[in-house]
Symmetry: C2
Subunit: 352 residues, 2 copies
Amino acid sequence: MSTIKEIAKKANVSIGTVDRVLHGRGRVAPETAEKIQKIIREMGYKPNLFARNLKLSRLFHFGILMPQEKQDGGYWAQSADGMRKALDELKSNQVRGHFYYYDKYSHNSFDHMIRAITNARLDGLIIAPILANPINELLQNLSNECPYLFFDSDLPETSPLSVINQDAHQSGRLAAELMIKLVPSSGSFLVIKVIPDDYHINARVKGFVDFLTQIDCHNVHVLDANIGDDPHCILPMVDQFMNHYPGLHGIFMTNALTYQVAEVIHQLSIHPKPSLIGYDLIDANAYWLERGIIDFIISQRPEMQGYQGIYTLFRHLVTKEPVEKRIVLPLDIITRENMLYHRQYVKIKINQ
Amino acid sequence: MSTIKEIAKKANVSIGTVDRVLHGRGRVAPETAEKIQKIIREMGYKPNLFARNLKLSRLFHFGILMPQEKQDGGYWAQSADGMRKALDELKSNQVRGHFYYYDKYSHNSFDHMIRAITNARLDGLIIAPILANPINELLQNLSNECPYLFFDSDLPETSPLSVINQDAHQSGRLAAELMIKLVPSSGSFLVIKVIPDDYHINARVKGFVDFLTQIDCHNVHVLDANIGDDPHCILPMVDQFMNHYPGLHGIFMTNALTYQVAEVIHQLSIHPKPSLIGYDLIDANAYWLERGIIDFIISQRPEMQGYQGIYTLFRHLVTKEPVEKRIVLPLDIITRENMLYHRQYVKIKINQ
DNA sequence: TGTTATTGCGTTAACGTTAACGCTTAATTT
DNA sequence: AAATTAAGCGTTAACGTTAACGCAATAACA
């Protein structure tokens, strides 16, 4: 491993001169500079990042822009937990995290946020790009010096450092495959598409329908559930739908609000109970999984997304390693019998 | 950010004393040590890894004792991949790995291995304790200075630093739950128990049977498949069994050789195809999952076990953090539609 | 009573990089 | 000719951690 000292010795100069050449800080005779450059190339010198960061003792500030943790039934708290775990591990590496929360059901109050983030002079930004427009606006205002990466979702026509999420279309296919394992393909199915929708939700619906179409199963209804900013209004909608189509075999809920569908099924005591598949292992969903109303939950490994997000930014900014442009996390299938260790893993391994 | 200097000032001692407390190197008065410990806790001190790594010149040698990578259809290569990934990440942290492979079907040749490991003066050891006796013998010979941890399995009456594996009994329950989602509980089931068995296999069988008993399903046959050191002899056994019990609804294979059962089902063209659930996402199992002969594969996250194994030893030996005595990994359910990203994740995120 | 260990601490020199500072020359200005 | 400036370089003190070393003071021996 070559050091600045060795280079200096080989070039018969002091380390100060080598340093000036390395950083282009001038005050070096052209011939000397060239000689040193040559030796640096020959020795394949790479600065020791430990020494550099130790000396600079500079703090790296990571901004995290995401929905309020309690939204989607606490789903976002799981991502945040993964980030907190990573930030804690990296505390000794001069990394600080700053959470900026937004209300995913409200486009207002973003101006204030944008100004706060722009003024914060952050070194990097981790974004859950749920609200496309305001986030696009933020990216315009952002300094070019500030790399950003997306998790959970994606945003077209931007150039993030990296994108960490799942294949939403494939997760729809997976839901359909599981559904067909539970119910013969001759059954009838309901897909609840939550409005306001996004790329994510649409891809899930499409994946589900595509899979069923492929195996010649066409008995699928897609219900547009416009919940606006009130997640609790799903209940009467599903209730109403169930009265219209009583012979339903399976329901696919396309977001974390699956527990609300489970409540409807439970309250109406529908028999035989339709199979229910949904997303995200939040507490309310675990409750109905435990009681057998929800059959499968597809998990997006939110805590891992958060964890990887922090580490990806760390590798890019601090250790200057090349990072992957896209990290696609596996689709986890959760049932009553394996949720214990998924939840335990989240709590124990990630939170603390 | 707290440093040992600040701690020293607060405790009215020198940094040397703080250092001795931090590393448990003795030569500190008990009261002084306690006072310093308290301050360390209060300030939430975390060592600066830049400084530590800059200073450290010592290499840590980790030994890895496990079955040959090709065994169990390449299952062990997945653990090894996870370890290689971690070792690569820690290369700049003075960590080197040394693989010691054994033949899990042969108790010989272990003497040579034991001597090699004992002579190697390793700083830590990661062990897959498949062969209880020779490994117990190794642990006798091992220096007390050398901590070891187990992955994949466990060994009673030993005191490993940590154990990283799954809940085998629960994974049997999970298999049964999935089976019942595929087949009505009135069906008849076959459990193939591979001999030579171990704690792991037995717990899986027990979990499966326990779950079914709990829901009053008693139509379960447990077939002892004595494969000795020839994994290929499963085929005729299952063939013979199937002829005796033609009306089988589901088969639970208790190890990675699930693909061999799939081959039997495929060759005999049994109709209707019995549901098949087994373990480990090795290439051969992925092949039959893709073709719909295997319905579910339960994965043990072998690459994660390996990855965590290396990091656990690292935290204990290098950063001197306290480590968890037991890491229980989630039970992953793999189907045709989600195996792509599980495999990709292994290949992309862990291998490189 | 003197000699040797042991305990409990403080001191210090690295590790590689950075950047402020200062010292020579030589060039340019008064 | 003296004074000022600048170019070109070397020196040095950090950054936080580690671990060897050393020095008292006490304890355990002969």
